[in-house]
């Protein structure tokens, strides 16, 4: 089983190769960064299921390629996907009946953040990663992570206040 220090070590090693996978597909550094961060975040989520003896690198590369294709498909039919996501989200809320209206509003507000902000928010407040782990995944300095999280919260507050006024 992969420990946190194992993960941090692997994340530093994998990051450049994951960036290459994204860059090769999109030809864009920002998208490559998104792919690398999302892959490492997913790797962190499944870290307890990963056997370090079996190729973690191969798995990470495969996940990165999957993410590239997935992102490409979403771009191909962006509008349809948006509608489907909204419908799926509504259905999930209706079926589970555990999430109240405020949580749903918060999720929608989070969806309006920039991808990097949204990812940091998810890491910190959904996956409950600590700042060091986020730093290992994103390569962003701890100080910048704190600032970005604070800015994200302020934006969410503004979005929710605006919606509340309507």
């Amino acid at each position: 089983m992969m420990t946190v220090s194992d993960f941090e070590h692997i994340a530093i090693k994998l990051r450049p190769r994951l960036l290459d996978v994204g860059r090769r597909f999109f030809g864009d550094n920002d998208m490559a960064e998104d792919i690398a961060q999302e892959t490492l975040m997913r790797l962190w989520v499944i870290r307890q299921r990963i056997d370090t003896r079996i190729g973690t690198e191969a798995l990470a590369m495969k996940m990165a390629r999957n993410l590239c294709v997935s992102e490409w498909r979403q771009r191909q039919k962006l509008q349809i996907v948006e509608i489907q996501q909204e419908t799926a989200e509504s259905k999930q809320v209706d079926s589970q009946m555990v999430t109240d209206e405020s949580i749903l509003q918060l999720r929608r507000a989070v969806a309006q953040l920039k991808p990097a902000e949204r990812r940091l928010f998810r890491m910190r407040y959904e996956l409950e990663m600590d700042i060091a782990e986020i730093n290992a995944v994103t390569g962003i300095t701890p100080r910048s992570i704190s600032v970005m999280l604070s800015v994200s919260k302020r934006k969410l507050k503004e979005i929710l206040m605006t919606k509340g006024d309507r």
Partner: protein, 204 residues
């Protein structure tokens, strides 16, 4: 807004409350799909398609540039020394060939030019159609052409060309002399005619 969310956005939540909120926000991901799904083939296919498309774009751009350059070359041909001289001095190149040929045939002969020999075209022909031309102009063009050709030939060819020029010059000098003698003779003949007329009048 929910009190918990309100406290969270105002950064007043405790770790316990944040954990509670995280549990509410968290949506269980489809981890099995992450691990088992393999889109490598699709990834490689899309990358190669994009690579091919990029190559085609570059090729199309290169062809377009070549077409533009070729079009520009055809529409605005470069001026040679020869054509520049022609543009400046000539108004009708149709008259050029006989005059030039009379001075310098393509084979070297010391004999007098009995019939003008047409020159074979060796360099860029003059395309303009000027309205007037003089022998002097044709001579200038021919000299310019010779100078240009001499720059491009080897030493042995140079000697041959120089010999041709000298012979042509000699022929030109003889031609000029003949014209001058002819003019002098004409003058003498007209003077004789005048003298004869005067004598006849005096006789009368």
């Amino acid at each position: 807004m929910n009190d918990l969310i309100d406290k969270f956005l105002n950064e007043q939540t405790t770790p316990v409350e944040e954990h509670r909120l995280a549990n509410m926000l968290r949506q269980e991901p489809d981890i099995d799909a992450w691990i088992e799904e393999d889109e490598t083939d699709t990834y490689e296919r899309i990358v190669s398609q994009r690579h091919r498309r990029r190559l085609v774009r570059w090729a199309a751009a290169a062809i377009l540039v070549m077409a533009v350059v070729a079009g520009a070359t055809l529409l605005w041909p470069q001026d040679t020394a020869e054509s520049t001289v022609a543009k400046v001095n000539h108004t009708n190149p149709a008259d050029e060939e006989p005059a030039t040929a009379a001075i310098m045939p393509d084979t070297v002969h010391d004999a007098e030019p009995q019939q003008p020999v047409r020159m074979t075209k060796t360099t860029t022909p003059v395309k303009e159609k000027p309205s007037q031309v003089k022998t002097v102009d044709s001579l200038q063009i021919y000299i310019a052409r010779l100078e240009k050709e001499l720059d491009e030939v080897s030493d042995s060819d140079y000697a041959t060309q120089a010999e041709q020029i000298i012979k042509a010059d000699a022929r030109l000098q003889r031609l000029v002399q003949r014209i001058m003698i002819g003019e002098i003779n004409k003058g003498e003949q007209s003077a004789e005619v005048v003298d004869t007329k005067e004598k006849k009048e005096e006789g009368l």
